[in-house]
Symmetry: C2
Subunit: 288 residues, 2 copies
């Protein structure tokens, strides 16, 4: 059921991106934006749509923040893949933007996708102004130097640090790098409804950390053909990860505990939270 | 009078950036953000503050969109200066971010400054939610693939085009690259007041174009020590500019006409528009 919903939501998100990007000039940057917003799992967009369904928010409203968070995520991947950053040539089973085009196009496509994320979050059809202002404000905080970019900056700082990071530091790094956007996505449904976002926030915090531990396990154990991206990057770069710090089995155990905590956090919503609970279990079972 | 106001506003904006950036982790990316938001003329921030004064909007509200537009402008400069873009080593008389730090820090500092711009535009102290949602939405449009990034993308596409751009194409390119943020800045005061932004929009459109023509003239005639950035870049790259298309004297004449049109557009505001009119005249007389 979760997998069907995820797949159906990915189709919805793609159709919305087609509409939004279809109106732009046909230029390499626009084509690169389309490339970067295609072919992902769309887990963050699903979290917006599903949390909106949980709160009976119309999809016609929720689709705007759902595409917003996917645009934000896509921009971060395009910039992360740049030669001066992680220098990746493969993403979602296809060449990265700077490989398919060039670095200037990748910088600009990422920049335009970030601007687009805010245009979509603040879009008039997303709801009343106080909700749209809140969506834009919280998205900015989640994406900037208190959230995602902070995580990236800590990651870069760690590369030149004399000592490997401790568990507490890795946790803070990942809370920014992956956690902040996941939390924004999962709480968006409550924000759209004007409801208390706290249960979804607790769900998202546990889920985000489980997601990153699963990513570290995938980096060690995964299959590049299934993952659609290069693996064993952290170990070869000598980076501290949850796996290098905890060991493989304890990392797996910790991820499973976090998934149960995530499921508990939304149990206040009863049977309606089932798809979100399945999503949490999927996060540690995925191969890409 | 205008020069004093511009200088005083630059001090106000700097103090606000100190407050906003002071709360962030001390990391190379944060230091680079501070570097990038220091030492500019702050013309865009001035336009927000002055258009707010014109509409009797409190400075405590206007300072948020004013720093927002300066953060947006700063991000665009940091990314434009990257080796894969314009490859500049000098900006505001100091080394560019990727020279003072490295490319990864420049990419991330630019990304964080763009997120910060939206955080500031949607800030609760900027005004009622409907105004903040509107500020965020219009800033996203001005900054993205219908505005600033479109201008950049057209500029890059022109470099590999077989024929030099015609006047109409250069005008569209510049309307995006420089014009969109200037228009957002100059209309912000009216938006903050809930007033008709049209006179300020007409002012800004003429001003933005005059600004770019003046920039092209500066590129040919300027003094690198006063300008604080490398000059004669367009001619050596064989780029079409207003000067190469129109010739130096007709370009100067066109800029002067546009400045008069800008002044006329705000004459509905009477004597209160005097500082904005002085600002327009300054734009074509500046040496940096």
């Amino acid at each position: 059921m979760f997998r069907d919903t995820l797949a159906a939501d990915a189709v919805r998100l793609q159709a919305q991106f087609d509409r939004v990007l279809g109106g732009l000039d046909d230029l390499p940057v626009t084509r690169a934006m389309r490339h970067a917003t295609t072919g992902g799992k769309a887990l963050r967009g699903f979290l917006v749509l599903e949390s909106a369904r949980l709160h009976d928010v119309a999809e016609a409203r929720a689709i705007w923040p759902a595409t917003a968070i996917e645009a934000m995520h896509a921009y971060s991947l395009v910039h992360d893949d740049l030669p001066c950053m992680d220098d990746d040539d493969l993403r979602r089973g296809r060449p990265t933007v700077h490989v398919a085009w060039d670095q200037a196009t990748a910088v600009l496509a990422g920049d335009a996708l970030q601007a687009l994320a805010f245009e979509l979050a603040a879009h008039p059809e997303a709801g009343p102004p106080e909700i749209r202002a809140e969506l834009a404000l919280t998205l900015a905080r989640a994406g900037g130097m208190a959230g995602m970019v902070l995580g990236q900056a800590l990651d870069i700082a760690a590369e030149s640090a004399a000592e490997a990071l401790a568990l507490e530091q890795i946790t803070r790094l990942q809370a920014g790098k992956t956690g902040a956007l996941i939390e924004w996505a999962a709480t968006a449904g409550a924000r759209l409804a004007g409801a208390d976002p706290d249960p979804l926030r607790q769900y998202a915090r546990a889920l985000g950390l489980a997601f990153q531990i699963a990513d570290d396990i995938l980096d060690v154990e995964g299959d590049v053909r299934k993952a659609g991206k290069r693996l064993q990057k952290d170990a070869s770069a000598g980076k501290a990860t949850f796996v290098s710090l905890l060991g493989l089995d304890p990392a797996r155990k910790r991820a499973a505990e976090l998934v149960e905590a995530a499921c508990d956090a939304v149990s206040v919503h009863g049977a309606r939270a089932e798809t979100l609970q399945q999503a949490a279990r999927f996060v540690i079972a995925r191969d890409s």
